[in-house]
Symmetry: C2
Subunit: 284 residues, 2 copies
């Protein structure tokens, strides 16, 4: 039985959102709704326009026999500004201060609303990079790294602090933590990363960058490439940064344990224009 346009629009939107970056053929939708491909194309134009107007993403078309449509998730500049502002306000609450000037961020990193939104921001910032895998180190940043991986539709690879029997053979490296100057260990299952993979490194917090540098060294062991580095929060008062080419969403400009003052500011990053991003989708 032929399905009405209104029902098709709701179901196609749901289907595309559940399957980010997957190529879906027009034939699949045509058969699912017992509708003509021309009607499906018209539906897709409406969905694409709506997504782009709301800054929620876009649809890319791939033409030819093996062609179809792909939903690329995105977030608008307005929504990003608002979210970063909200998180900044949360971070500045003084009860987050822990001994040694550390900050308790676990509540933010446990909250689906923030995790998802930050995940969409990183997926948007690296939208035009060729990424095969998202990598992070355990533990706090894993949900965030997973959210990014989900929007990019790639696996998330988790570097561990010690080796586990359930991981099989592993590669282990030592690295120097940038702030504490202590030697630490990182372990990654051999099976979890292929040679030549393009890897987006995501972490929740960066001081000098020792842990991120450790992950970069790990990638060298696997002959894999760094496709990008994204951290949610970085310390501002670092004399010598160990990594250069990274994006941070939030920068701690002041942490004063004596007076219990925490000051943060927005990091430096620029979202691309989603409408300019997808010229190939004009032929929808």
């Amino acid at each position: 039985m032929k399905v009405r346009r209104s029902t098709r629009l709701v179901d196609m939107t749901h289907y595309l959102l559940q399957n980010p970056r997957k190529l879906v053929s027009l034939t699949f939708f045509a058969e699912r709704y017992q509708s003509a491909k021309s009607s499906i194309s018209e539906d897709l134009v409406i969905i694409k326009q709506t997504f782009e107007e709301q800054g929620a993403g876009t649809l890319l078309t791939v033409s030819g026999a093996a062609g179809g449509v792909k939903y690329i998730p995105y977030i608008s500049e307005e929504e990003t500004e608002q979210l970063i502002g909200e998180i900044c306000n949360l971070i500045e609450k003084k009860d987050r201060l822990l001994p040694g000037g550390y900050l308790y961020l676990t509540d933010i990193l446990s909250n689906p609303h923030y995790i998802n939104s930050v995940g969409r921001i990183f997926a948007s910032l690296f939208v035009d990079k060729d990424i095969d895998v998202v990598m992070t180190v355990e533990t706090k940043g894993i949900p965030l790294a997973y959210a990014v991986a989900n929007y990019l539709d790639v696996p998330v690879v988790i570097v561990r602090r010690d080796s586990r029997v359930t991981e099989g053979a592993t590669v282990s490296i030592n690295y120097i933590s940038g702030s504490s100057k202590r030697i630490q260990t990182m372990v990654l299952a051999k099976r979890s990363l292929e040679e030549g993979a393009n890897v987006l490194i995501i972490d929740d917090f960066m001081r000098a960058g020792g842990t991120v540098l450790g992950m970069i060294n790990m990638l060298e062991e696997f002959k894999a490439n760094v496709a990008g580095i994204g951290v949610l929060v970085e310390s501002g008062d670092i004399e010598e940064r160990l990594v250069e080419d990274y994006v941070s969403l939030i920068r701690l400009s002041e942490v004063n344990t004596k007076d219990k003052v925490i000051k943060v500011e927005k990091g430096i990053f620029h979202l691309k224009n989603i409408k300019q991003m997808a010229p190939s989708s004009d032929d929808l």
Copy 2:
């Protein structure tokens, strides 16, 4: 400017999917689209019917001045059957066998497609429970626990193996691993769980259940309640199970390291009927 129904349907579907279980007022949508509440109600009926027909979830209405609509994510029985079947086939591949009869499952637990789908299955199985928090123990199962938490719109709380300076004060317990009979430690930040919280425990793998029992003991320390226990895979050859009331999606019926044979079967669980689940939404 008034927004057309087709655009509204796409944007409302997107908005509701991005905000599972959040109460959204009709006024919010009416203002967003400069449309009458009666039109918005009609849109919501279409969305609700489409979601229910596809087994994707339902919309619940809350009436009164502070009322509105909530999207409850769900997964259909057909989709669940297919997914569990897919994962079973993946698990039976013999190159997963590790020394000691352990199985390498990290690839499945890193893949957004499986993580999300299994997350939706658990969210569906516990759809009618009152859940404040999803809890897991590091590391492999964290993305899965986060996916469940995301569909239930509650925070994910991660129990750690050791204490970290970035967690603040912690509660630590010792427990006996059911299979290896060794004493192990679990640590949870004091701030991460409130007294009286209803907690859904999610883990990727269960042998005798020592780790899950450890989490139950941890909840007792926090005066929190077990709202449910869900594991993705359980061993079948266990003489004495340490926990009773749990749901497993997949059961390992045979792991033969000598002949390199892995056999799995579907666990015992029943999805409720989504259409019967939501009588209160009839007044949409």
